[in-house]
Symmetry: C2
Subunit: 427 residues, 2 copies
């Protein structure tokens, strides 16, 4: 993509009420725009990041046998009354129109449970796992952490359906592995831990996945021995001990909840009278689990964690582009033209070879602005073509997270060398 | 994908209030589920169709230089008041929460105009074209045509921004070609025509794209000479004459509006005070155009048009799978096992070769049910493996829209022959 075609420009200043690092950086870099508190537009570069996160999540859900569907955001009041959440669900957006009352989907147990009920009759129809990647709405009282707490946000919500608790436990354990794989692929595997949290009325625990971050709204207690954590909300009930090793050497950490998994048991199947016929002919309630991941919150989390004083530093897997190619300006018009045509050639060559390249081909922007934007955007590999490199038939190559780059000759070998350098990008 | 893994099953009966063909077929085939009037869940096979339609639209918008973004559904009242549409926009869903009033996005001029305004200062920043593929909400009074008129539906909405009317006209003409390409790729190019419609206060005409269909809610007058139509709403103003050739030999047809393009001129830039500095230093209002396509309505339109008494007949480009492989059951268990293992092999071979295959591997379903489902689902190429074909080392091959199939030997040549047959699929 040519940067001159982008309608978005980086901003020097952003609204003063945006105090979180992720909002500051994403707004400055022009990855998102704020419509109102907790409600953002994803701009071209930001949407590329969000879609890459969604696709990683989608791939892993599909591998785990998840069947993708898409449920509506507009839901009738009746289904929330049936599960007793119309009055009790925190932050539900409600609306009335032509004498009908609706809620905007804040979660989808109320839709997915009756849906599966239509197709599930006997034990032969189970187990099942369905998921969607969809927009959710919650009227959060405080929405001041950029993408970390949105009023409108993207969510992957999976729901599983089982004949008994044993089969739920089997799938739940499988999903723990799947979730670890997702964090791994997103570059936060080493700082994201399974965290014991309240299980509500139907289960002893639920589990959150908490990513350690100074800005996190959550407080957890980490057991370095077991590599799990305990959410503050249940630490007293556990008498400040790890539920796995019972040790008390716990480290207090702030963190961001990037996912959660929950044994719903019969909470919703019971409310919907969702039963199946077992092999022995008896009628039993379906056992459910649910599994959430927030792609937009993950985007905010990654921006929050991976940055420096100059801007964003995206992990490879989600960076909007792999290469940021800068063609520098020159006062001498013929030199400038030579730089542009060399850059054009390199851009086409790299793009044809399958690289995702953003080419800063702007002639209006100063070289200083180009370098600043490149640091701000946080694309892993920066290639610079200027007068000096042109004369040496070379290109300046630098990884976003390293201080110094190197000069590489523009030769047949270039692509191979770029691959080697790119593979060394640690994030 | 193995059909035995699908949680969805085809249905013999659907709700009696669903009278439209598209709703009947899509519900029976288990492509969608109805949550309430005008609000549907997309089930695994249906979501594949919808995503394919969206991707075709996306590819063509990208080729036309469109920059993809994603705007919110939740929008503040203030922006609708500014453009005088809070009270005047038909079917706007409104809600109030914590003393704030919101509308659910029914269209996005109110969001995109101030967005572009933030980044557009001079003529050098123009032209621009941005689009999104996003969920829209409209509280339609009558929502009884399945996916043809949803209260929650998917929409591609593009907005273009220009220095003057001439440049808008240039882009508008380009978009007409792009739209024709989209209809072509979706298999409705030959029955979809540009239709003159009311232009509102700011333009003489807008243009709709109307697809001829018996069920259509619209009435248009078609000029066979110019291959354009006129919407009933303006036919009297035009004195029943074609605006291009002025001929009066017009054919009355019912149709479905699958897209529209509209010269907004300064309607929204004026309301938002969105100006730019021209080359001569003067300050001028930005000129806008907008371009809509409804992917979910297109899905309903295709279902409405391409079907027979037995079910759906998807066009190649949007069919959920290319091949429906049926492995028939047999009373003789050893024969049954042989069929299953031959089918497994074929399934793996075709999938590895890049074919999208749905394998009906169910052992519970009768052969009759399998054939019925296959017709209902409407996948272009049906492959059947049964006792007879197994003995002949062959597979029965039939296109969904043809009466008779043929028997092809399972050999190295099979794939090549399947390609030939598939390429002959006329839809």
């Amino acid at each position: 993509m040519k940067q001159s075609k982008l309608f978005v420009k980086s901003r020097k200043e952003v609204q003063s009420e945006e105090t979180s690092i992720n909002a500051q950086l994403l707004l400055k870099a022009g990855f998102v725009d704020k419509l109102m508190a907790g409600v953002y537009t994803y701009l071209p570069l930001g949407l590329r990041v969000l879609d890459k996160i969604k696709n990683i999540v989608r791939e892993e859900m599909n591998k785990a046998g998840g069947q993708e569907i898409l449920m509506p955001a507009l839901t009738p009041k009746e289904i929330w009354v049936q599960t007793n959440r119309w009055e009790n669900f925190d932050a539900l957006f409600k609306l009335e129109s032509n004498n009908h009352e609706y809620a905007l989907g804040a979660t989808h147990e109320e839709v997915v449970t009756p849906l599966l009920q239509k197709f599930t009759f006997s034990y032969k129809d189970l187990p099942q796992a369905v998921y969607q990647i969809q927009t959710k709405f919650r009227n959060e009282a405080r929405s001041k952490s950029g993408l970390l707490r949105g009023r409108e946000f993207s969510m992957k919500d999976m729901y599983s359906f089982h004949t008994d608790e044993e089969d739920l436990n089997r799938y739940y354990a499988e999903m723990e592995k799947v979730y670890e794989k997702v964090w791994e692929r997103l570059g936060i595997g080493h700082i994201t831990v399974k965290t014991y949290a309240s299980g509500g009325a139907f289960s002893k625990y639920s589990h959150e996945y908490q990513t350690f971050a100074p800005v996190g709204e959550d407080l957890v207690y980490y057991c370095p021995k077991c590599k799990v954590a305990i959410n503050k909300e249940i630490i007293e009930d556990l008498e400040h001990a790890c539920p796995e090793c019972h040790g008390k050497d716990l480290e207090e950490k702030t963190s961001i909840e990037v996912g959660n998994i929950f044994k719903l048991m019969t909470k919703f199947s019971g409310a919907c009278n969702f039963n199946y016929t077992a092999a022995d002919g008896s009628v039993k309630p379906v056992i459910m689990g649910c599994y959430g991941i927030g792609p937009s919150r993950l985007m905010g989390t990654l921006a929050e964690i991976y940055n420096d004083a100059n801007g964003l530093i995206w992990p490879k897997a989600v960076a909007p582009f792999q290469i940021h190619l800068l063609s520098l300006g020159d006062r001498d018009e013929s030199v400038q033209n030579e730089i542009m045509s060399a850059a054009q050639k390199l851009y086409e060559q790299l793009t044809a070879a399958g690289w995702e390249v953003l080419w800063d081909d702007r002639v209006q922007a100063s070289n200083g602005e180009k370098f600043k934007d490149s640091d701000l955007f946080g694309i892993p590999l920066r290639l610079v073509l200027g007068k000096q490199s042109l004369q040496a038939q070379s290109v300046e190559v630098k990884l976003r997270n390293q201080e110094n780059g190197e000069s590489l000759p523009i030769s047949e070998d270039l692509e191979k060398k770029l691959k080697e350098i790119y593979n060394n990008y640690a994030v």
